[in-house]
C-alpha cells in the first residue's frame, strides 16, 4: 500500500506548526543577533554582542530572574497546598458541594488585569478598604510600597487568581481515583490522616506533578499582576524577568536586546523545568 498520500494530509498541519511555533522562535533568534532599536530599525547583524552584554553587564536581568524564581515557586507551592485542601474538601460528600465547586472556580474565570486593578484598589494604602479595616487593630501594612511586603502582595494576588486552576486539576484527579484502595484502607481501620498520607497522596502523585509543572510554566511568565500592581517597584523589588523583558523591548524599544533576553530565558526555563520535573518524579513516584 502506498502511503505517500499521507504527506498530503500532514502538510497543512505542518505548515501551521512551522508558521506559529518554529518561525517566531527562529525570528527571535535572528532578532537577538541584531541591534534593532528605536533609532536603528532593521535586522543588521551584530553577532553575539547582545548576549555578551546580557551575561557580563546586566545584573538587573539576573536579579529579576532570581526574584521570579522565588515568586513562582512560592505561589505554586501555596496554590498546590490550598488547591489540594479545597479539592479534598469538595471531593467528600458535603452540603452544597456543587455550589462550592463552582465558587472556587470564580477567581480563575475573571480577567487577570481587571482583578489586579481591583486588588490594587483594595491594597491602596490611603484610600483602600484593607488598611481601613486593619486600622481598627492599629496596623497599616505598606502593601505596595515596602520592598518586602510588596512581594507578598504579588503572591497573594497570584495565589487568589490561580489556585482554582490547581483545584480543578486536583479535583479531576481525585474523582478519577480507584475506590478499591480506599475500601481496603477502611477495612484495615486506617484513620483519615493515614488514609491521606498512604493512599490519597501517593495515588495523586502523577497528577500533582503535572499540575505543578503546568502552573510553574504559567507562573514563570508572571507579568500582568506586576505591571498593574507595582510596575516592578518599589525600586526593582517586584520586577520579574518577563516584566523586565517587556520594559526593554516595548518601552525602551531595544528589540534586539530584548530578543536575546527572551531566548536566554526560554533556554533557562526549558532546562530548569526539565530538572524540576525529574526531581519531582523521583521524589513522588519513587515507589
Amino acid at each position: 500500500m502506498n502511503f505517500k498520500h499521507k504527506y498530503f494530509f500532514l502538510f497543512p498541519g505542518l505548515f501551521v506548526l512551522i508558521g506559529i511555533l518554529i518561525f517566531p522562535i527562529i525570528f527571535v533568534v535572528r532578532l537577538s543577533l541584531s541591534g534593532w532599536n528605536s533609532y536603528n530599525p532593521g535586522l543588521d547583524y551584530i553577532g553575539l554582542e547582545n548576549y555578551i552584554r546580557l551575561f557580563t553587564d546586566d545584573p538587573r536581568f539576573w536579579e529579576s530572574f532570581f526574584r521570579l524564581s522565588f515568586l513562582s515557586v512560592t505561589t505554586v507551592i501555596l496554590q498546590y497546598v490550598i488547591g489540594f485542601a479545597l479539592a479534598h474538601m469538595v471531593w467528600k460528600d458535603i452540603k452544597f458541594k456543587r455550589f462550592f465547586r463552582v465558587l472556587f472556580l470564580v477567581p480563575m474565570m475573571t480577567t487577570p488585569v481587571i482583578m489586579t486593578v481591583i486588588w490594587r484598589t483594595f491594597f491602596h494604602e490611603s484610600l483602600g478598604p484593607v488598611n481601613d479595616m486593619l486600622s481598627v487593630f492599629g496596623v497599616a501594612p505598606k502593601w505596595l510600597t515596602d520592598p518586602v511586603i510588596a512581594k507578598f502582595t504579588v503572591i497573594i494576588v497570584e495565589v487568589w487568581q490561580w489556585t482554582p486552576f490547581m483545584f480543578l486539576l486536583l479535583l479531576a484527579g481525585l474523582l478519577s481515583l480507584p475506590k478499591e484502595p480506599f475500601l481496603a484502607a477502611a477495612i484495615d481501620g486506617a484513620s483519615p490522616v493515614r488514609k491521606f498520607i498512604y493512599v490519597t497522596f501517593p495515588l495523586m502523585a502523577p497528577i500533582s506533578i503535572g499540575a505543578i509543572i503546568i502552573r510553574l510554566i504559567e507562573a514563570s511568565k508572571i507579568m500582568d499582576t506586576v505591571y498593574v500592581l507595582t510596575s516592578g517597584g518599589p525600586g526593582t523589588s517586584t520586577e520579574t524577568s518577563s516584566f523586565y523583558i517587556f520594559i526593554k523591548g516595548l518601552r525602551e524599544f531595544q528589540m534586539g536586546y530584548a530578543a536575546s533576553m527572551s531566548f536566554t530565558y526560554l533556554i533557562i526555563m526549558i532546562i530548569s523545568l526539565t530538572i524540576i520535573a525529574k526531581v519531582l518524579t523521583k521524589l513522588l513516584l519513587k515507589e
Partner: protein, 512 residues
C-alpha cells in the same frame, strides 16, 4: 426714506456686531460642549468645518485611554464626523504603549493610523515617520497664537512635526486656604519659628509639608498629608525628579547643557546638584500620603484634587481638577512657580554657588502627528486644527480630566477662567501669571529629546526609584544612572545624541 435707511443701517450693524453670537447659538445648540463660548471664528471653526466634505473617507486615530486626552480625541472626532460627513475611527491605548503602538508599524513601513498621539519627547524618534505641518496651518491665526515655547516643543530645528494641542509645564500647587490662613500661620510660626508662606525653595517645601503631614488641618474629619507626587516607577516619575532637580542643577551661568555637557556628552545626572535633589526627594517619602511612593499621575491628581495634601507639583491636571465645580476645594488652591534653591551647582567650576536659583521646567506633554504614509493627510490636519480651534480649546481647558492645558498666548487671559469657569479672580491671576512667567524666563529646562529617549528616561526612573525604595543611596543611584546613560550614548552613537541634544540646548540657552 431717511428713517428706512437709518433702520436698515441699524439692522445691518446689529447683524454684523452680533454675527459671532449668531454662530454661537447655532453651533452650541448642536454641540453643547462649546455652550460657554459658542463657535469662535477661525480657520478651523465649526462654521468652516461644516463646509468641508469628507464623505466616504476614513480617518484612523491612535490616542490615549479615556479620559486624559482620549476623551477629547473621541469627542472632537464625533463632532468632526457630524460636521464633515467623514468617518473617524479612534483607538485608545495606555500611555506606556503609545510609543510602541505607533513605532512598530512605522518601522515596518506601514501606517495603520493616520493620526498618532504621544508625547512631545517622542519627536526625535518619530519625526522621520511624520508629515510636517503644512504651511496653510502654520500661517493660520490660531497657530500664530501658540507660545514660542510650545512652537519649539512641537518642532525640530525649525520644522513642525507635532500639531500643538496641549501645553505642559510643571509648577507648584498649594492649598491657599491653609497657607494664607492667619491661624495656621500663627501656629506654624509658634512651632517652627518660621513664616508660613508659599515655599520658594525645596527645603521650605519639605519643612512645611512635614509640618502639615498626618493631621486633620482642614477639619473634615480625615487626615491630611504634606505632598502628593508622582513617585511610581515608570509612571512619569522621571519628570517629577527633573522638576526637583532644575533648581539645583540648571545654572544660568553655565550654558551648554542641563542633562549632558554638550561638548563632551558626559552625563551631568550624577553631579551634586542632581544628588541634592534626589536627597530631598528621598526625604519627601516621609510626608506623602500612605502609599504615596506608589502614586502615579492619576493618583497624584486624585490626591491633591481631592483635598488630601497641602502641596503638589506636576502638570496642570491636579490644579484644574481641584478647581472644577465638583471639587471640595474649588477656589481654595493656588499656583506658583516650582520652588527654587538657595544654592546651585556650577558644573564648570565644580562648586556650589550660594545664591538663589529657580528654573521653570517646560516638561514634555501631549503631542500629535500625522503619519507620512497616511492617505488622508488633509483630513487628518483638518481634524487636528478643529481639535484645537478656539471654541474646543476653551471648553477643553475647563475640564481637568481632559488633560488639555494652556499653550496659546490668549490662554493667559485670566478672564477666561473667571468668566467661563467661575474661578476666584485672585486664583485666576496667580495661575495665569505663573504660566506666563515661565514663558518669559531665560533659565528654562526643556525635555530631553534625543534618539532613544526612552532608554535615558527609563534609566532615570529605575535609578531614582531604587533610591526612593532605600535600595541605594542617592549618590549610588545616580552613579548607576550616569553609567547607564554613558552606555546608551555609546550604543546610539555619541554624534547622533550630541547633534540632537544640541537642538534642545539651543532652546535652553535662548538661542533658538
Amino acid at each position: 426714506m431717511k428713517i428706512i435707511k437709518t433702520c436698515l443701517t441699524a439692522v445691518i450693524s446689529s447683524m454684523m456686531i452680533f454675527s459671532p453670537m449668531a454662530y454661537a447659538d447655532k453651533w452650541s445648540d448642536q454641540f453643547p460642549h462649546i455652550k460657554a463660548t459658542g463657535d469662535i471664528p477661525g480657520d478651523c471653526s465649526y462654521e468652516k468645518m461644516s463646509k468641508k466634505n469628507y464623505k466616504g473617507k476614513t480617518l484612523k486615530i491612535n490616542t490615549h485611554a479615556i479620559p486624559v486626552m482620549g476623551e477629547p480625541t473621541a469627542l472632537h472626532a464625533e463632532q468632526f464626523e457630524k460636521l464633515t460627513g467623514g468617518t473617524v475611527e479612534v483607538t485608545h491605548t495606555p500611555a506606556g504603549d503609545l510609543y510602541s503602538k505607533a513605532m512598530v508599524p512605522f518601522q515596518a513601513g506601514q501606517a495603520p493610523y493616520d493620526v498618532v498621539f504621544g508625547f512631545s519627547n517622542f519627536i526625535n524618534d518619530w519625526k522621520r515617520y511624520l508629515a510636517p505641518v503644512p504651511k496653510k496651518y502654520m500661517n493660520s491665526p490660531e497657530m500664530k497664537d501658540v507660545t514660542k515655547s510650545h512652537m519649539g516643543v512641537s518642532s525640530w530645528d525649525g520644522t513642525m512635526y507635532q500639531y500643538p494641542v496641549d501645553g505642559d509645564r510643571h509648577y507648584l500647587k498649594y492649598r491657599k486656604d491653609v497657607i494664607d490662613n492667619p491661624e495656621m500661620q500663627k501656629k506654624y510660626k509658634a512651632e517652627t519659628g518660621k513664616d508660613l508662606k508659599v515655599p520658594t525653595t525645596w527645603k521650605e517645601y519639605g519643612e512645611m509639608a512635614k509640618f502639615f503631614n498626618g493631621w486633620d488641618w482642614d477639619g473634615d474629619g480625615e487626615l491630611e498629608y504634606g505632598s502628593a507626587e508622582v513617585m511610581k516607577k515608570d509612571d512619569l516619575m522621571f519628570a517629577a525628579f527633573f522638576s526637583r532637580s532644575v533648581a539645583y542643577a540648571k545654572n544660568p551661568r553655565t550654558p551648554g547643557g542641563f542633562f549632558f555637557d554638550l561638548e563632551t556628552m558626559k552625563p551631568n545626572i550624577n553631579n551634586p546638584g542632581f544628588v541634592e535633589a534626589l536627597t530631598d526627594w528621598v526625604e519627601a517619602t516621609k510626608y506623602v500620603p500612605p502609599g504615596g511612593t506608589n502614586f502615579g499621575l492619576g493618583d497624584e491628581i486624585g490626591s491633591f484634587g481631592g483635598g488630601q495634601t497641602l502641596f503638589s507639583f506636576s502638570w496642570d491636571d491636579a490644579f484644574i481638577a481641584a478647581m472644577q465645580d465638583d471639587s471640595p476645594i474649588k477656589n481654595k488652591v493656588g499656583a506658583a512657580p516650582l520652588p527654587g534653591a538657595n544654592k546651585v551647582w556650577n558644573r564648570v567650576s565644580n562648586s556650589w554657588e550660594n545664591q538663589y536659583n529657580q528654573a521653570p521646567y517646560i516638561v514634555w506633554g501631549w503631542a500629535v502627528g500625522v503619519a507620512k504614509k497616511s492617505k488622508v493627510k488633509d483630513m487628518a490636519f483638518d481634524y487636528l486644527c478643529f481639535f484645537s480651534n478656539g471654541a474646543n480649546h476653551q471648553a477643553d481647558l475647563a475640564i481637568g480630566r481632559f488633560g488639555v492645558n494652556p499653550f496659546k498666548n490668549s490662554d493667559f487671559d485670566p478672564k477666561i477662567y473667571i468668566n467661563s469657569m467661575g474661578w476666584d479672580p485672585e486664583i485666576a491671576n496667580s495661575y495665569t501669571k505663573t504660566l506666563l512667567d515661565m514663558e518669559k524666563s531665560n533659565n528654562r529646562v526643556f525635555p530631553l529629546r534625543v534618539p532613544g529617549v526612552f532608554e535615558f528616561t527609563s534609566a532615570v526612573a529605575t535609578g531614582t526609584s531604587k533610591a526612593l525604595a532605600g535600595q541605594l543611596s542617592p549618590q549610588e543611584a545616580l552613579d548607576e544612572v550616569a553609567k547607564e546613560w554613558e552606555a546608551i550614548v555609546g550604543r546610539v552613537g555619541k554624534k547622533a545624541v550630541q547633534d540632537a541634544y544640541a537642538v534642545g540646548v539651543k532652546m535652553e540657552d535662548n538661542k533658538l
